[in-house]
């Protein structure tokens, strides 16, 4: 009896998370990275050397391989739709990097095509697998905070540069990059949808064509109100890349979560600054383990295309609100 391996292909290393995902997949005994594809030949060949498998410059060629059951899409945001749809048509299950798309129509077509071809579509919201946030979810679900009244979120970061600050590829800057994770967590906690969005958005830190800072004020269907700060406001000397924090205010108590609190403070003279070295659980490992399990056991993904779409809608509404100066009603 030959041992079963899940054959995986990686479509593009444009997003740096592709390297993290590939590293984790390579170490999973039940998974084999069969091929990588990248428009950028140099980048793709380097990834091939690191992770093994075949290399294709044309991802369509990768999709013709029968030994690949699932693909990870880590291209530029505005290319997700084309690749996910092609993968679904080739009957490959898909894990798609966030934000799932830059336009609502694209996200809807992605969901529809995956459904038609009977393949799984999971969106990479790994924060749902972060152990401190899982503990928060348990606390909320057990009713220990009473009824949720308000939630405050932050997902700060630094300007990643490259295509992230070219609107054509990213669809937007900090707000596009750093809104969806936390909005997804808020939806997950409240079991409710965002009804209205107000936002201030601007470019104040860098000389770039996209936004680099913003502030979102949200109202949920069930009356919970929330705020979220997705700014790329961490300076270069900051001890880590940014943060994910959440404060949930309930009628019976409050919980504050700092997803990166589990760290050492490390001081090294040669670095010229001190750094946080994280020692908590890897949320990306949780995401990929779950994705692989969904494919193998034919289970519905825990984070669906609809989840990706809802978070994208909020992001786009934030841009619309900042443009018009008015709150934008989603439902």
């Amino acid at each position: 009896m030959t041992e079963y391996h899940l054959g995986v292909g990686i479509l593009s290393f444009a997003h740096m998370h592709a390297y993290t995902y590939a590293d984790i997949l390579r170490r999973m005994p039940s998974v084999r990275i069969q091929a990588v594809a990248d428009f950028d030949e140099e980048r793709g060949r380097a990834a091939q050397a690191r992770f093994g498998g075949a290399f294709y410059q044309d991802y369509q060629a990768l999709l013709t391989r029968d030994d690949i059951e699932a693909v990870i899409v880590c291209s530029e945001n505005s290319r997700h739709a084309e690749m996910v749809i092609a993968a679904a048509q080739a009957h490959k299950h898909v894990l798609c990097e966030k934000p799932m798309a830059t336009r609502v129509e694209d996200a809807q077509r992605m969901i529809e095509t995956c459904r038609q071809h009977g393949v799984k579509l999971q969106i990479a919201f790994p924060v749902r697998y972060c152990s401190p946030l899982r503990r928060l979810k348990q606390t909320v679900d057990a009713g220990r905070l009473g009824r949720i009244v308000a939630i405050r979120g932050t997902n700060h970061g630094q300007n990643p540069g490259g295509w992230f600050v070219e609107r054509q590829w990213s669809g937007g800057g900090a707000v596009m990059d750093h809104t969806v994770h936390v909005v997804d967590i808020m939806r997950w906690l409240t079991h409710s949808e965002v009804r209205e969005v107000y936002a201030e958005i601007d470019t104040r830190f860098y000389d770039i064509e996209t936004d680099d800072c913003g502030l979102l004020m949200l109202e949920f269907d069930n009356g919970v109100f929330a705020s979220h700060d997705p700014s790329w406001s961490r300076p270069q000397t900051y001890p880590t890349w940014g943060d994910v924090t959440l404060e949930v205010v309930g009628t019976e108590g409050i919980t504050r979560v700092d997803a990166l609190a589990q760290h050492l403070n490390v001081y090294q003279d040669q670095e010229g600054r001190y750094q946080h070295v994280f020692f908590g659980d890897s949320m990306d490992a949780g995401l990929l383990t779950d994705f692989v399990a969904c494919v193998r056991t034919d289970k519905e993904p825990f984070i669906s295309g609809e989840d990706g779409l809802r978070a994208l809608e909020v992001t786009l509404a934030a841009y619309e609100s900042a443009q018009s100066g008015r709150p934008v009603r989603l439902r």
């Binding site: 009244v149 308000a150 405050r152 932050t154 209205e196 107000y198 201030e200 601007d202 104040r204 830190f205 860098y206 680099d212 800072c213 913003g214 502030l215 004020m217 109202e219 009356g223 109100f225 929330a226 705020s227 700060d229 700014s231 406001s233 961490r234 300076p235 000397t237 900051y238 205010v249 009628t251 108590g253 409050i254 100066g325 008015r326 709150p327």
Partner: protein, 351 residues
């Protein structure tokens, strides 16, 4: 006028804090404590070794204070301030200056007409962490500022007749507490252009209140201010100022310099925990000494009654926004406060 005679009106939380600060000042005589509740006045007066009064007339006649320090609930500020001013006393009054702009403006007019000073106790400008942050950011330490975050709050406050729970008297956490941050941020960044707020106002708010306020300053700075009276216990403040060249962070939890835990015993029932950030002089004492110094020297205070009015305008705009679900623009007044933008522009030209 070297020694000053000061009387405190209102023997609640802030009357207790202010009267303690006056007792620390060598050149001040605390000549009386007034409260309409005789037992409250007597209790605090005994602790501070001074006389207790129950009416302003009796206090002024017997003690002849130079300064009356008003620590009554917000909606009563105007009546006490005006009575003290008419009697010829300089006035120090707790923030918010008043519950309404009409009251605030009337107080300023009456004090002017009576030829007495009016100082509003926006104490955050005297907290060393905020002062340092202000000076750093104004000196361009983090470059052009983009996004600022401020947080303040803890448990629901306990007051006389539960006045904090009454929107008409107190104005919710937005008017009572977040006004501290509004004043501080205006000190740093000048005038606010627009405000958008979400809070528990108009939802259920039984001994719980929480609010998020988005501020957009005329100079473009975006600020998120969070105020809470929804925590089961404690009191916390946080400040974060992000600029193009750096970041300033402060968390009160990280500045606790002394942690004490007392084992449960007959004397300490629950096993007490005491976090402390000790300073030689409390910010309240620094603030009150500053106001008294301004009286003595007849100079402008660090925070004026007009500043206090502006902070109240921001609070009231936030309250209106929370009610209406719409952004509220503030009346366009030119930037008058020390303009960070100007200094930053200067700073940026240097490099």
């Amino acid at each position: 006028m070297s020694r000053l005679k000061v009387a405190v009106v209102g023997a609640g939380t802030m009357g207790t804090v202010h009267s303690e600060a006056y007792r620390e000042m060598a050149d001040v005589d605390l000549v009386g404590i007034l409260d309409i509740r005789p037992e409250a006045a007597q209790r605090l007066a005994a602790r501070r070794e001074t006389a207790a009064y129950t009416t302003l007339n009796a206090l002024i006649q017997a003690a002849q204070p130079d300064v009356v320090d008003v620590c009554v609930p917000t909606y009563l500020h105007r009546q006490v301030v005006e009575a003290a001013a008419v009697a010829g006393c300089h006035v120090i009054c707790e923030k918010p200056i008043a519950r309404t702009l009409a009251d605030a403006e009337a107080m300023i007019r009456v004090c002017q007409a009576a030829g007495v000073k009016l100082y509003i106790a926006h104490v955050v400008r005297f907290f060393p962490e905020y002062r340092r942050a202000h000076d750093l950011v104004c000196d361009g330490a983090v470059g052009r500022v983009g996004v600022v975050r401020a947080m303040r709050g803890g448990a629901f406050p306990v007051g006389w007749e539960d006045w904090y729970a009454n929107v008409a008297k107190c104005g919710t956490v937005i008017v009572d507490s977040m006004i501290h941050d509004f004043d501080f941020l205006r000190w740093c960044f000048g005038e606010v252009d627009r405000v958008y707020a979400k809070s528990q106002l108009g939802r259920d708010m039984v001994q719980s209140d929480h609010a998020f306020v988005s501020l957009r300053f005329q100079n473009g700075v975006i600020a998120h201010v969070e105020g809470t009276w929804a925590y089961p216990s404690g009191f916390y403040t946080e400040l974060e100022m992000a600029g193009a060249k750096g970041l300033i962070e402060f968390r009160s939890q990280d500045a606790i310099a002394v942690h004490t835990q007392i084992r449960q015993s007959e004397r300490a029932h629950a096993g007490v925990q005491v976090p402390e950030s000790p300073l030689v002089k409390s910010p309240y004492q620094l603030e009150l000494e500053h106001f008294l110094e301004c009286i003595r020297r007849d100079v402008q205070p660090l925070v004026t009654a007009e500043d206090a009015c502006k902070a109240l305008e921001i609070s009231l705009a936030a309250l209106a926004s929370a009610r209406a679900g719409k952004p509220v623009r503030l009346a366009q007044t030119p930037n008058t406060t020390a303009s960070v933008q100007e200094r930053l522009t200067r700073g940026n030209q240097d490099d």
